[in-house]
């Protein structure tokens, strides 16, 4: 029997246990935003907060620059990444636009027109 492997689907992130391992500090920091005190602490000094959660330089840069695509590339889980977007008052549609190279309005319009189709 071959080794079980995570499916690869083009254009799609599939968060797996290996991603959990490599992005553990990143996702843990993002997950900490469940607690309003942590949200305040992050806002007060973002870089120090990243350091306290032991983010590596790539992870920290992606957070500080709000490089949403890079957060995903580095193994961020969308449900964790979204917690930072919420703090920035960004909606999932805003992120959808960023992920697909559209404006939010274009992305919302594409959904209203029945969504995006592939394959």
């Amino acid at each position: 029997m071959p080794a079980p492997t995570t499916p690869k689907v083009p254009g799609t992130y599939i968060f797996d246990v290996a991603d959990n391992g490599r992005a553990y500090a990143l996702n843990r920091m993002l997950g900490s935003f469940k607690d309003p005190r942590n949200r305040e602490m992050f806002s007060a000094d973002e870089a120090a907060y990243c350091d306290a959660y032991k983010l590596n330089p790539e992870q920290k840069e992606a957070i500080l620059q709000r490089d949403w695509n890079r957060m995903l590339d580095l193994g961020g889980s969308i449900f964790y990444v979204f917690k930072l977007a919420v703090m920035d008052k960004k909606s999932m549609q805003d992120l959808g636009g960023i992920f697909t190279g559209m404006t939010t309005e274009e992305f919302v319009a594409a959904l209203k027109a029945g969504g995006r189709h592939f394959g």
């Binding site: 079980p4 995570t6 499916p7 689907v9 083009p10 254009g11 799609t12 992130y13 599939i14 968060f15 797996d16 246990v17 959990n20 553990y24 996702n27 843990r28 993002l30 997950g31 935003f33 469940k34 607690d35 309003p36 949200r39 995903l72 889980s77 969308i78 449900f79 964790y80 990444v81 979204f82 917690k83 919420v86 703090m87 909606s91 999932m92 549609q93 992120l95 959808g96 992920f99 697909t100 992305f107 594409a110 959904l111 209203k112 029945g114 969504g115 995006r116 189709h117 592939f118 394959g119």
Partner: protein, 286 residues
């Protein structure tokens, strides 16, 4: 003995909850979706369960990345509503049904399901939005007690679709063996097709969704035979949530009838659906 009176499949998109919380259900954007719910809501209001077993997934709120269960069941007296980043939803605390939970747990573990036991659990939109779909105006308390049943759908490897259907069948057997005469509803939540991140974000595959909506009644085995990759490719990275409908479907048994369904695009970034099934076997024995 307890019986399953109906099963509800429904999307659990947070913005559906927010639309209700913010009184936007009559807005042009949301009205078609909520109009689609109306016949199911009216029927459910006439067929009220004592306990709802809500099959759902946590979304980075109560389950930590340090320890991720495949299947978990809540056994607490009550479940607080999680703060998902914008403060908890202004809905009642969720009352548990600990005796039923413990009975189900014992039966499922005896049947070889390796459940994780949650004695403390905050519930997120995955559970509270379906409750609001059932009961939009709960007042001070929800109209039924709840057993949360959690499924890992956010970290590969998720359970297979076939394993979910098998869990549902064992769950149905476990419910029917509970000695109290209570009425139980089972909620399968999540879906339809959606993908939040990546170049395919905003994916909607209506053909797949409509096939699934039909087959969940008539041919769940065909859905249980699909691979994780099938679900992700056809329905998007988060569309794999649909495997949770199979747990509800397995618990309902073979004699069911469709009360109502609805399908709508979009609910923010996703397709949303509702499908309500009556357990005809329970009706005839009642």
């Amino acid at each position: 003995m307890a019986e399953v009176i109906w099963g509800l499949a429904t999307s659990h998109v947070p913005s559906i909850g927010a639309a209700m919380d913010n009184h936007k259900t009559e807005d042009a954007y949301w009205k078609p979706l909520f109009d689609g719910y109306a016949p199911a809501r009216a029927w459910m209001a006439e067929h009220t369960p004592d306990v709802a077993i809500i099959v759902y997934n946590d979304h980075a709120n109560a389950i930590d990345l340090a320890m991720m269960p495949t299947f978990a069941i809540g056994t607490a007296d009550e479940y607080q509503v999680a703060d998902e980043g914008w403060g908890p939803r202004n809905v009642p605390v969720v009352k548990g049904a600990p005796e039923l939970s413990r009975h189900l747990l014992g039966s499922l573990v005896d049947d070889g399901f390796d459940m994780t036991v949650c004695q403390e659990l905050e519930v997120d939109h995955g559970l509270t939005v379906p409750l609001s779909v059932y009961c939009p105006e709960p007042g001070d308390e929800w109209p039924c007690a709840v057993v949360p049943l959690l499924v890992n759908v956010i970290q590969y490897p998720q359970p297979t679709a076939a394993r979910c259907l098998a869990l549902g069948e064992a769950l149905g057997k476990a419910i029917r063996s509970f000695p109290e005469n209570i009425k139980v509803a089972v909620f399968g939540t999540g879906g339809m097709s959606h993908q939040l991140a990546g170049a395919r974000a905003g994916l909607i595959n209506e053909d797949f969704d409509r096939m699934f909506l039909k087959a969940i009644e008539t041919d769940p085995e065909s859905l249980a035979a699909l691979s994780r990759e099938d679900y992700v490719r056809e329905a998007g990275s988060e569309g794999i949530e649909m495997i949770m409908w199979l747990i509800m479907r397995g618990a309902l048994g073979s004699e069911i009838s469709r009360v109502h369904d609805t399908y709508h695009v979009p609910a923010s970034n996703t397709a949303a659906a509702l499908a309500l099934f009556e357990n005809v076997a329970a009706k005839t024995t009642a």
